[in-house]
């Protein structure tokens, strides 16, 4: 078995330790003797996404976000949309998550168009939502808590879209409706940095399994010893969630 991970714009979208997500995918495949290839997808990439099993899209600073947004709209958007409708597994974080939505409205009121893959939109806010976040999530028939660190001022609202989870501590999508992230087909958008995958190995494995299933049909991942990851997660939950 082989998993091909497309790392979107590794030189542009690389904030807040999100590279740790790639590290987590790599190690969790290697520990199971699953072959893994990390394919950097840069501005000059023009191919379709047919060779990619799992796509990772992080966040960047405003400048980089603008470059990426133009490139997605003008070059890669159509291919990406086709692949996603066909079931491509995607993890999009923070800025990357916002880009998959319909638009981003700036403080001045102008609208920057997104890819429109998610029925979600983001409105710039005055308050930065920074801090530890704990959510309760129920995906792939598994119920578990996820932890991370969020750092965004954009407020995202969903329309008839399933959120990734319910906020227990922190702000999530908008600090108002207790939703965090968004799920559409095999696309997962979230504000969780931290990075999210090594902190939440269940989630990492759901992504790997989903991506491999699309390629190979039935797939059963060998369980790994995650006691260290769970200990780290538990220590945060105990610290921040009041009982």
């Amino acid at each position: 078995m082989k998993l091909v991970v497309g790392h979107m714009y590794p030189d542009l979208l690389n904030l807040y330790g999100d590279i740790g997500n790639i590290v987590a995918l790599k190690k969790r495949c290697e520990w199971r003797k699953i072959e893994i290839e990390i394919k950097p997808i840069t501005l000059d990439y023009t191919e379709e996404f047919t060779d990619i099993d799992l796509l990772f899209l992080g966040g960047g600073s405003d400048r980089e976000q603008k470059i990426v947004s133009d490139d997605l709209k003008n070059k890669k958007g159509k291919n990406l949309k086709t692949a996603i409708e066909d079931g491509l597994t995607v993890l999009a974080i923070c800025g990357g998550y916002q880009l998959l939505g319909e638009y981003y409205q700036t403080l001045a009121g102008s609208k920057l168009e997104g890819l429109g893959i998610l029925k979600a939109w983001t409105i710039a806010g005055n308050r930065r939502m920074i801090g530890n976040i704990v959510i309760d999530t129920n995906i792939a028939d598994k119920n578990f808590k996820m932890v991370g660190f969020e750092n965004h001022s954009g407020k995202t609202f969903l329309e008839k879209m399933e959120p990734l989870g319910k906020v227990i501590i922190g702000n999530g999508n908008n600090g108002e409706d207790k939703t965090e992230g968004c799920i559409y087909k095999n696309v997962y958008g979230t504000y969780l940095h931290g990075p999210v995958l090594p902190k939440n190995p269940e989630f990492a494995d759901i992504l790997i399994e989903t991506a491999l299933k699309r390629k190979y049909g039935k797939v059963e991942l060998t369980p790994l010893d995650d006691s260290l990851e769970q200990q780290a997660k538990q220590s945060l939950i105990e610290r921040f969630v009041k009982k």
Binding site: D11, L12, L15, Y16, G17, D18, I19, G20, V23, A24, K27, S61, D62, R63, R128, I130, G131, N132, F149, N151, H193, G194, P195, P198, K199, L228, E229, Q231, A232, S235, R239
Partner: protein, 451 residues
Amino acid sequence: MKFLGVNIGKLINISCKITGKGGTSLPGKIALKYDSKLIEKLIGPIKNNKVIITGTNGKTTTSGLIASILTTAGKSVVHNKEGANMKTGIATALIKSSNFLGNLQKDATVFEVDEANMPIVIEDVKPNIVVITNFFRDQLDRYGELDTTVEKVKKALLNLPQDSIVLLNADEPFTASIGDEIKSKVFYYGIEDNIEGINSSSFEQKYCPICAHKYEYKKIYYGQLGDYYCPNCGKKRPNPNFKATNIFLNEDGINFNLYYKDKIFTVKSRLIGLYNVYNLLAAISAGILLNIDFSTILKAIESYWPIEGRLQKTKIKSKRTIINLIKNPIGFESTLNMLSQFNKPLNLLISINDNYADGRDVSWLWDVNLESFLSKTKVNYIVTSGLRAEDMAVRLKYAGFDIKKIKIINSIEKALDTIADLTEEELIAVLPNYTSLYDVSKYLKLQEAKK
């Protein structure tokens, strides 16, 4: 009003000493509440030798070196040496150096200033020289993004007195770009050597300020520091006024040649690691610009030994130990690289807190190239400590370190005891982040007192 503010500050300072709470910024904080112009008033009589150092990394060492140069030259210096680099810390340093009449009988000031505090400090201090070391991502959750920080510092420099000098690191493109847009007299320092660079993941891509193309590199020393140029319009790294060449590094120290105008000087220092070449270069250049004669500068540099927690050599339960503060990816990587160059087996203690002063977000641990360090260095045990000991342990697991050789001990005292007990022949390296260092120092003082 000057008297009242100073006296309140002094009283607080005394009570801080009695209660043992350090007091590196509290007296200033309270005194500034009574008199917001206190810094300006106290520093007023000093006209020359006022130096400000800012940047992400190296400001503590660089300011320590500059203060030592000025002291060796016979000046009496006010220096916020406890690393209290916000406005309140600077006020505290001034209060401590003033008498009860609010008179500061000193003839030089050396302040390291946090990037975010630059505008206000520049206005109050009116420095003769501003030194900028580099810009990296540091505690992003507090300051927003790198471009914003650079922009803020640049803006602050526009308010400098006319005859002030700005001294910039030519090799760091974010820092050097500031020189293009300010009216002050600008000097640059940089390395020109074929020494092997550090393989680091903390690279900040800078785009050409003229045509927005990506900079390319002829040579990278570490992070984004090196000899860069724009392949599109030809803009390149400014030619440094002060150059370091023939660099020689080992466990005992640094040697290099410094070129300035038509002169060559041989510099020797007990500091270690390539990143300290930049700190030395910045400090010596500042010394020259302050018209201090070169033999005095060299004397100060040669005898300089860093302050607590910066490359501090000590013993824990009679085991050889080196302590170095780590607070961001590039600082962590530079430290690891230095340790790796020792070619000796190591035991590590890494302590990570997430208090406000540390930055609440510890995601940056994943930006550190631990994989490269662990692949080329013999490390027997790693103890992780602090509030985020578990996160650090997970990071090490994914960097490929054997989890049976990791011990998670949140209490720093117990962690220090444990690493010493685990150690036979290895060198212990204790790497605490900002507030963890405070706990490490406390432990060492207690141990010292027990003797």
